[in-house]
Subunit: 68 residues, 2 copies
Amino acid sequence: MKDLAISVGLKIKAKRKEMGVSQDKLALLADIDRSYVGRIERGEVNITLEKLYEIADVLECDAKYLLP
Amino acid sequence: MKDLAISVGLKIKAKRKEMGVSQDKLALLADIDRSYVGRIERGEVNITLEKLYEIADVLECDAKYLLP
């Protein structure tokens, strides 16, 4: 399931850049540690649904949009 | 975010019943503890994306279908 984390990480990174949001700002607004945002985007961690929804909320998109 | 877990739990339960899969069988096939399946369906736990995809795989549906 590592492919899943990588796909989601790439989608989050792309959407974050599209929205002009820095990793620092995403971390702050989604209440995630800054280094953890990097790990999510690199697909190194298996996030929870709750975290996915918090990130989607900050990036103003549907959580489903961030899934492969 | 408790509403999220409850919504997802209800969707998983409905899809599981529609597919005629018992909690025991879902637990076995998705490699989850039997009691944990009950907790997921009652919205008591915040599952990971990986677990969502494993459950969707067993229930032969798109993981997005199980999201609110």
